[in-house]
């Protein structure tokens, strides 16, 4: 048997001699720092979820009906009459939410350890493009079941484009193909969700990894292993503190995969709606343009950005400032390599100011998520009886908007004008286990 495999391998090598070197370059001879910690699981987990979304998505399209009249019924058909249809759908809906969980943690890792800094700016920019496309992909996927929250969510989000001066109104109609989200909207969103955006997403993921493998991975110490001493057990010319990605990080990532799938299985089998966070109550009612849900809110992963939109008031007679703020929140993240001019990468050796600012960023992002999801509006009457909910919510939400944007302003001033007092970065990476 082994002989047969060798012969097949030789046959392929003869005809495509560059395949084996490519495999070595990206797997067995891709040397990664040996001190990766917990935070380094989320990249491979994001890839796992992407594969899950594609495979479960293919099976969903086999029974989903792309029409406003049939979409809702076909989803219930999948949930009830298709063999294991409920499992496929819950894997897809849970996967969508967990995709954002791992991507948010992956992005936080990049900010915390300075992985976006030179020479990895391109890796970061490609990652931010992935994030943008992922948001579009998730939004359109959310519309497809054609529940009432699908309809009203689509209406609210598409109407954001209506705030653009002069062309806004006609742009909204052009996007929807109708005066309301309707059959035409559902059909084009289906096309974008199942083929156009996934293709873009896959291409960007390939580029993200290719760009990473050109410059090499960062690590929790932010130490440049490539410029350190050479010569390890596997290769005399490669960095002493690096190990081959395969098999060492592939087996390590598999442990992460095991943990992650166990958690995912808990949600899928025991709490598929996750208390209304992953599948919302209002989306179990068919789309109805005459009945507005009592609270229109986007899926949880959009709520921090949605809160920025809501908290920024309109002035000069236009509401576009909130829209600019919402997209600006993402743009500023993409510009981080040029805003943060600090020479030290990892938070372990950065100044106290950066550490505090990073904490403020995380707290304000989470708090904005609660504001956008309407949780604060429910808690304010409990915590401050008799207070005006809108006043308190606006004060709190705007403070958090300041906290979010304040991070970027602070980090620029802090690093551009030399206020940061860093600690000495070690020569070699540190291991803790």
């Amino acid at each position: 048997m082994a002989k047969v495999f060798t012969r097949i391998g030789d046959w392929v090598n003869e005809r495509a001699p560059s395949l084996a070197p490519m495999y070595r370059k990206h797997m067995t001879e891709y040397f990664a720092p040996k001190n990766f910690n917990l935070w380094y699981y989320f990249g491979s987990l994001a890839l796992l979820v992407l594969v899950n979304q594609i495979i479960t998505g293919i099976f969903l399209t086999m029974n989903y009906k792309t029409s406003a009249a049939e979409a809702f019924n076909s989803v219930e058909y999948i949930m009830r009459d298709v063999e294991w249809g409920w499992l496929i759908r819950y894997m897809h809906s849970t996967g969508a939410s967990l995709f954002f969980v791992v991507v948010f943690l992956h992005m936080f890792r990049g900010i915390m350890y300075g992985s976006f800094k030179r020479p990895r700016e391109l890796v970061w920019i490609l990652g931010m493009l992935i994030f943008l496309v992922l948001m579009a992909e998730a939004f359109m996927g959310y519309v497809l079941p054609w529940g009432n929250m699908s309809f009203w969510g689509a209406k609210v989000i598409i109407s954001l484009f209506g705030t653009i001066p002069y062309i806004g109104g006609s742009l909204v109609e052009w996007i929807m193909g109708d005066f309301l989200p309707a059959d035409a909207t559902l059909n084009r969103f289906f096309a974008l969700h199942v083929i156009a955006l996934p293709l873009v997403l896959l291409l960007l993921v390939v580029l993200h990894l290719a760009a990473l493998h050109e410059v090499g991975s960062n690590n929790p110490d932010g130490v440049d292993v490539k410029h350190g001493p050479k010569g390890n057990k596997w290769n005399p010319e490669k960095p002493i503190d690096a190990i081959p990605f395969h098999p060492y990080y592939t087996v390590k990532d598999l442990v992460g995969v095991g943990f992650f799938l166990t958690i995912a299985a808990f949600i899928i089998f025991f709490a598929p709606t996750f208390g209304g966070w992953f599948l919302e109550h209002d989306n179990f009612t068919p789309a109805n343009n005459l009945v507005t849900p009592s609270h229109i809110k986007p899926s949880w992963y959009f709520t921090p950005f949605y809160a920025i939109l809501r908290m920024i008031p309109s002035f000069f007679g236009t509401a576009i400032w909130g829209v600019i703020g919402m997209f600006g929140a993402i743009l500023l993240l993409a510009l981080l390599p040029w805003l943060d001019k600090g020479a030290v990468r990892s938070v372990r050796y950065r100044g106290l100011g950066f550490r505090i600012a990073l904490g403020v960023l995380v707290v304000s992002f989470l708090a904005l998520g609660l504001v956008g999801a309407g949780v604060t509006a429910e808690l304010i009457p409990v915590w401050f009886p008799g207070a005006d909910v809108t006043t308190v919510e606006n004060a709190f939400g705007r403070l958090m908007v300041l906290g979010y944007f304040g991070f970027f302003v602070f980090v620029w001033v802090y690093t551009r004008f030399g206020f940061e007092k860093t600690k000495p970065v070690p020569e070699r990476v540190t291991m803790h286990d």
């Binding site: 910690n37 929790p220 098999p247 166990t262 808990f266 899928i268 089998f269 109550h281 429910e378």
Partner: protein, 250 residues
């Protein structure tokens, strides 16, 4: 650092979990329905109530008679003679006989399909709604409901529960007096405890119709999680074995 990372994740998860009850607040101020969808006897009693008191007006368009039989442990004959009053085939869904135009004329609106009601409104809402009808001569059909004020639906279970009347509190100037509590003025065939239990069964049945997969997903899930936990442990051992090379090489 790893410890700090773990505590950061734990904190984030903790925050997320702490906010869950707040969001699940469609059951605000409602008594817990206390349903158990895997209690087959309760499901069967609930189905009996549904087909005796509800199906006259409400459909379950996503639920087939055949599926009811297999999920509730009933024979085809039992389902077709006791639950099917419309001459539908065994494989067809439960559709009420009431014509939509008549419904609009009688109640002002078409009674909604109840297949997904428990997922759209929550089981607590249904349970409390069924217990909160009271006589109100000012309403077109003579009934009102404290959980869903001015609902167009009369109390279909009045024979069982008896007649409930509202005790109003002091009216603020210029406002109608709020309902303080409901009292049974004419007893029905059931005691209040029996009626609570019956409405809990009915709610359980609607919880099932909203998600028939609920009957199997937990029992499948236990095996999936056991498998994954075992797999994760094996993968950990594999990683540990491979990484001996790395630890030796410092």
């Amino acid at each position: 650092m790893i410890k700090r990372s773990i505590s950061a994740i734990a904190l984030a998860l903790g925050l997320a979990v702490a906010t869950l009850p707040a969001l699940a607040s469609e059951g605000e101020g409602l008594a817990s329905a206390g349903t158990n969808v895997s209690d087959r006897a309760s499901l069967q009693r609930g189905a009996k109530l549904f087909f005796n008191y509800c199906v006259g007006c409400h459909s379950l368009k996503y639920v087939r008679y055949s599926r009811l039989a297999s999920d509730l442990g009933l024979s085809e004959e039992e389902v077709m003679t006791n639950f099917n009053f419309t001459g539908a085939k065994f494989g067809e869904p439960v559709i009420s006989h009431m014509p939509a135009e008549d419904a609009k004329a009688w109640f002002g609106k078409d009674p909604p399909d109840l297949s997904l009601e428990a997922r759209a409104k929550g089981v607590d809402f249904i349970y409390n709604y069924l217990n909160s009808f009271y006589l109100d001569p000012s309403r077109p059909v003579g009934w009102n409901n404290t959980v869903f004020p001015n609902a167009s639906m009369p109390n279909p279970l009045w024979e069982l529960q008896g007649l409930q009347t509202a005790v109003h509190g002091e009216a603020a100037p210029g406002q109608e007096a709020a309902v303080e509590k409901l009292e049974i003025s004419t007893p029905g065939r059931m005691t209040p405890e029996e009626f609570h239990s019956a409405t809990r069964d009915l709610t359980t049945f609607l919880e099932y119709t909203a998600e028939p997969a609920a009957l199997e997903r937990q029992s499948v899930g236990v095996w999936v999680i056991l498998f994954l936990a075992g797999l994760t442990f094996l993968l950990y051992l594999l990683k540990h074995e491979y990484w001996k090379d790395v630890h030796e090489s410092h």
